[in-house]
C-alpha cells in the first residue's frame, strides 16, 4: 500500500535536484574511468582519505590545551575557514556555472533559485564534513582542556555550520556581483582571476597563520591575540562559541551578533536579493561569448621556432604538447585553479624557513631543505597538468601516428620546467641572497637543482603526464596533501645529508656523486618513457 502511494506521489523537484548534484559530486561528471560497482555511495566514502588527512592536520589544535575557549575557537575557525573557503572557491566555478549542464537543465521547468539551492546544499554537506573532520581533536580540546566545557561540543558544531553557510554565501555573492557589475564578456576572466587569487590567499593563509601565531606569542596556549584578529570572520564565530560555552564576555556577545547578522545578510543577498543575477548568469553560460578572449601566446609560438627552444623541442609532438601545456597554464581557468594554489605553498614554506625565528636556528639547513623542496615543483605541477575538463579532446593524440605518449609527456615536462619551475627557482635564489646576505648559501641549493630532472621525469613514467588527458578528479587534492608530506620528509633527509657534506667538507664530492647518479637514473627513465605505451585508462573506448 505504502509502495503504491510512493509510486503515485508527485516527486519533489528540489529533492530530485539535490540527489542529482550529490550523485554528480560523488561520481564526477565524466564516466570514462568510472566503474559502476566501485562508485562511492556517500560523501564520507568518497572523501575518506581526505577526511583522515584533515583530521591529522587537526592535531595542531592539541597545542591549545591551555588556551581560553575564545583563543582556541579563533584558531579552529581560522583554519576551518581556510579549508572550507578553499574548497568552495575551487568548486564554485564548475558547480555554479557549468556550460554542459545548460543544455540539459535550462529548458526544464526549474527556476534558477531551486538549482542554486540544490547546488549549495551539496557544497555545504561536503564543507561541513571536512570542517568536522578537521575539528574533531579541537573539539576534544575545547571539552577537556584547561578552560573546557561540554557545551563547547554543540556550540562549536553550530558555529561551524553557520561559518560554512557564510563561506558558501560569500562565494555565491561574489560571483553574482561580478555578473552584475562586469557582465558576461569579462566574467570568465574575472572568475578565473578571483578564484586563483582567493585560493592562493587561502593557501598562503593556511601556511602563514600558524607561523605568525607561533612567532608572536610565547607559546600557542597562552597566545594573546592582536586586536585586528577581531575584525576577521573567524573571530566572530569564535565569539559565538565563547558565548554558548558560557564564558561569554560583552565582546564575545558583540562578535557573535556580528557573525550571525553578517551570515544572514550574505545569505539574503546571495539567495534572495541577487538570485535573478544567477539565472541571467546561467543563461549567459550557454551563450557564445561576443568577443573571443585574446590569445596571448604569439611570443611563445615565435620562440619555439628559433634556437635555443627549437633545439630543445625538436620533435613536433613534443613542441605541440609544450604549446598546449603553455596555453592551458596561461588561459584555462580550471587548470590555473588547480596548479597555482597547489604551487604557492611550495614557495611559502621555504621562505618561512629562511625568515629569522625567535629561536635562532641553523643558518644553512633551511637553504638546503628549501632547495630540495623547491626541486619538487615540476613533480607536483606535472601531476596536475594531466587533468582538464577538456580531457576528451586528448583522444586526438591517439588518432595521430604516435607510437606512444613519450614525446607528449616530454613537451609538458619542458613547459612546466621553463614556465613555472625556472621562474620560481630564480625568485627563490634571489630571496636567499636577500634574506641571508650570503652568496655562499646559494651553493646549498645545488642538491635540489641537480635533482630536478629526476623529479620532472618521474610523473612521465608510464606515459602518465600527457597534458589535458584525464578528467578532473575530486580525490586528487587529498592525494596531493599526502604527496606533499612525503616530499617534505624526503627534503628534510636530503637537506640533512647536504648539510653534513657542507659541515664535514665533502659537499663538492656529494654534489659530484649526485650529478652522476642523477645522469644515469635520468637516462634510464628517459628510455623507459620512450618505450611507454598508451596507459590503459586513456585508451579510447
Amino acid at each position: 500500500m505504502l509502495t503504491r502511494e510512493r509510486e503515485n506521489a508527485v516527486p519533489s523537484q528540489s529533492r530530485a535536484l539535490r540527489r542529482l548534484f550529490l550523485m554528480l559530486f560523488l561520481r564526477g561528471r565524466s564516466a570514462r574511468q568510472l566503474r559502476v560497482a566501485k562508485m562511492p555511495k556517500s560523501i564520507a566514502a568518497l572523501l575518506r582519505t581526505s577526511l583522515v588527512v584533515y583530521a591529522f592536520i587537526g592535531v595542531t589544535s592539541l597545542g591549545f590545551g591551555g588556551a581560553t575557549i575564545f583563543t582556541l575557537a579563533v584558531y579552529l575557525h581560522a583554519m576551518t575557514f581556510i579549508l572550507v573557503g578553499l574548497f568552495v572557491a575551487a568548486a564554485a566555478g564548475e558547480v555554479l556555472f557549468n556550460a554542459e549542464e545548460a543544455d540539459i537543465l535550462l529548458h526544464r521547468p526549474v527556476n534558477a533559485g531551486a538549482l542554486l539551492r540544490a547546488k549549495i546544499f551539496v557544497l555545504l554537506q561536503v564543507s561541513i564534513l571536512m570542517a568536522v573532520a578537521f575539528n574533531v581533536l579541537g573539539i576534544g580540546v575545547g571539552v577537556w582542556g584547561q578552560h573546557g566545557s561540554w557545551r563547547f561540543l554543540p556550540a562549536h558544531l553550530l558555529s561551524l555550520t553557520i561559518m560554512a553557510l557564510f563561506c558558501a554565501g560569500a562565494i555565491v555573492l561574489t560571483y553574482q556581483l561580478c555578473l552584475r557589475w562586469f557582465g558576461r564578456e569579462r566574467l570568465d576572466g574575472l572568475m578565473t582571476t578571483m578564484q586563483v587569487a582567493v585560493s592562493i590567499f587561502l593557501v598562503l593563509g593556511s601556511q602563514l597563520l600558524p607561523q605568525v601565531m607561533a612567532r608572536t606569542g610565547n607559546s600557542l596556549g597562552t597566545l594573546v591575540l592582536p586586536w585586528w584578529v577581531r575584525l576577521l570572520p573567524p573571530a566572530w564565530f569564535a565569539g559565538f562559541d565563547d558565548v554558548l560555552t558560557g564564558g561569554g564576555r560583552a565582546e564575545s556577545w558583540l562578535l557573535a551578533v556580528i557573525g550571525v547578522v553578517a551570515t544572514a545578510l550574505i545569505l539574503w543577498l546571495a539567495f534572495a536579493k541577487l538570485a535573478g543575477d544567477y539565472e541571467r548568469g546561467l543563461q549567459q553560460v550557454g551563450e557564445r561569448s561576443a568577443r573571443a578572449p585574446r590569445a596571448r601566446r604569439r611570443w611563445l609560438d615565435r620562440a619555439v621556432a628559433v634556437p635555443p627552444l627549437s633545439w630543445w623541442l625538436r620533435e613536433p609532438a613534443s613542441r605541440a604538447s609544450f604549446l598546449l601545456t603553455a596555453a592551458y597554464l596561461g588561459r584555462d581557468r580550471d587548470m590555473k585553479l588547480r596548479v597555482y594554489p597547489a604551487v604557492s605553498p611550495m614557495l611559502v614554506w621555504p621562505v618561512l624557513f629562511l625568515l629569522p625565528s625567535r629561536h635562532g636556528g641553523a643558518a644553512a639547513f633551511p637553504v638546503a631543505f628549501a632547495g630540495v623542496y623547491m626541486g619538487l615543483i615540476p613533480l607536483m605541477v606535472l601531476k596536475l597538468v594531466r587533468y582538464s575538463q577538456n580531457w576528451q579532446a586528448a583522444d586526438v593524440f591517439h588518432m595521430v601516428p604516435l607510437a606512444g605518449p613519450g614525446e607528449l609527456c616530454h613537451g609538458a615536462r619542458r613547459a612546466v620546467l621553463l614556465l613555472i619551475t625556472a621562474p620560481m627557482l630564480l625568485l627563490f635564489a634571489l630571496l636567499v641572497v636577500a634574506l641571508r646576505h650570503d652568496l655562499a648559501n646559494v651553493a646549498l641549493l645545488l642538491p635540489g637543482l641537480i635533482a630536478i630532472p629526476i623529479y620532472a621525469i618521474v610523473p612521465c613514467l608510464g606515459g602518465r603526464s600527457v597534458p589535458c588527458s584525464a578528467p578532473p578528479n575530486s580525490m586528487e587534492s587529498s592525494r596531493r596533501g599526502m604527496t606533499m608530506m612525503l616530499v617534505m620528509l624526503l627534503s628534510a633527509v636530503w637537506g640533512g645529508i647536504a648539510i653534513a657534506g657542507w659541515k664535514f667538507g665533502f659537499f663538492g664530492w656529494l654534489v659530484f656523486a649526485q650529478a652522476i647518479v642523477v645522469a644515469v637514473v635520468y637516462a634510464m627513465m628517459r628510455a623507459s618513457v620512450a618505450r611507454a605505451a598508451w596507459p590503459a585508462e586513456t585508451a579510447i573506448g
Binding site: 516527486p11 530530485a16 561528471r29 521547468p109 557564445r288 561569448s289
Partner: protein, 262 residues
C-alpha cells in the same frame, strides 16, 4: 471550420551577442499539429532561435508565445509545455540511463510509477534493453543510444510542442526511420514540431512546411513542394544551396582538392 490556433507565435525576435546580431527580427507562427522544418546554414541563428523559444536564453528584443504563454513573463509555464532535443545531445555521463530519465521525470513532477511505465514504452520503441538502462552509465553508451535517451527525456512529459535540433545525429538507419514515423504520429496527435536539420531530403519528406533563415533573417517560409516549384529548383537541397551560397562551396571544394594534387 475554426481557424487553427497558433501554438508558436514569434514577433520581431532578435538576439544580439555584443556587436554580433545572431537573430534579426524574426517573425513566424506555427499552428497546432504542424511539422516545421527550420533550416539554415551554419551560424544562421537556428540553434539560438530554438534556445530562445525553449527559454534557455533570453531574447534581446521582440516577443514570442509558446503554447499560449509569453516566453519572457512566464518562462516556467513555457518550459512545462515544451520538449527539446539539443544539438549537443548532452547528458550527465556518470548517471545510468534510468537514473537520468527518472531525474528528468521528477523535474516535471511525473510520479515515479508513471515515469517508469513511460520509460519502458520508449525503450521498447527504441529497441533498448531495460538492463542497459539500469546497469550502464550514460558515458558508456554509444552516440546513438545516448541520442535515444535524450529524445526520450524530451518526450517523457508528453509536451504539446517539441523542438528537435539535429535529432538524427548518431541514430542508425532503422532508428532514423522509426523516429521519422514517430514525429509524424506525434503531429497527427496534435503536437507541434519544430525540426532543425541539415539533412534536407528528410526535411522535405517529413515536414509540412519549411522556414529558411540566414544571418538571423527569414529568407523563405512555405510548404516545401510549393517553394521548390515557385523557384524552379527541382529539390529542396538545390533551393537551399541557391539561397545560402552553397553553389559557391562546390567551386571552392574543387579548388581545395587541387591543393592535394599540387
Amino acid at each position: 471550420m475554426a481557424p487553427a490556433v497558433d501554438v508558436i507565435s514569434v514577433q520581431q525576435l532578435s538576439k544580439r551577442y555584443g556587436e554580433q546580431l545572431a537573430v534579426d527580427q524574426l517573425s513566424f507562427a506555427v499552428p497546432a499539429g504542424q511539422i516545421v522544418g527550420f533550416l539554415g546554414p551554419n551560424g544562421a541563428g537556428k540553434s539560438t532561435t530554438l534556445k530562445m523559444l525553449t527559454g534557455m536564453i533570453a531574447p534581446t528584443s521582440g516577443s514570442a508565445t509558446v503554447a499560449g504563454f509569453d516566453l519572457v513573463t512566464h518562462p516556467i509555464e513555457v518550459k512545462r509545455r515544451v520538449g527539446f532535443v539539443p544539438e549537443s545531445g548532452a547528458v550527465f555521463e556518470s548517471l545510468t540511463g534510468l537514473e537520468y530519465l527518472e531525474m528528468i521525470a521528477a523535474l516535471y513532477g511525473i510520479p515515479h510509477g508513471g515515469a517508469v511505465e513511460r520509460i519502458k514504452q520508449f525503450i521498447a520503441f527504441f529497441d533498448l534493453s531495460f538492463e542497459t538502462l539500469t546497469d550502464k552509465l550514460l558515458g558508456a553508451y554509444s552516440k546513438g543510444m545516448r541520442r535515444k535517451v535524450v529524445i526520450t527525456a524530451a518526450l517523457l512529459h508528453n509536451p504539446p510542442v517539441v523542438f528537435f535540433d539535429e535529432p538524427l545525429d548518431g541514430l542508425d538507419a532503422n532508428a532514423a526511420v522509426g523516429f521519422k514515423a514517430l514525429i509524424q504520429t506525434l503531429a497527427r496527435e496534435g503536437k507541434t514540431i519544430v525540426y532543425s536539420s541539415h539533412i534536407l531530403d528528410v526535411v522535405e519528406r517529413v515536414c509540412d512546411r519549411v522556414i529558411i533563415i540566414d544571418q538571423g533573417k527569414l529568407l523563405l517560409d512555405g510548404a516545401p513542394e510549393a517553394l521548390v516549384a515557385a523557384h524552379g529548383s527541382g529539390t529542396l537541397e538545390r533551393l537551399f544551396t541557391e539561397l545560402t551560397g552553397g553553389a559557391e562551396l562546390e567551386r571552392r571544394a574543387e579548388d581545395f582538392a587541387k591543393t592535394f594534387r599540387s
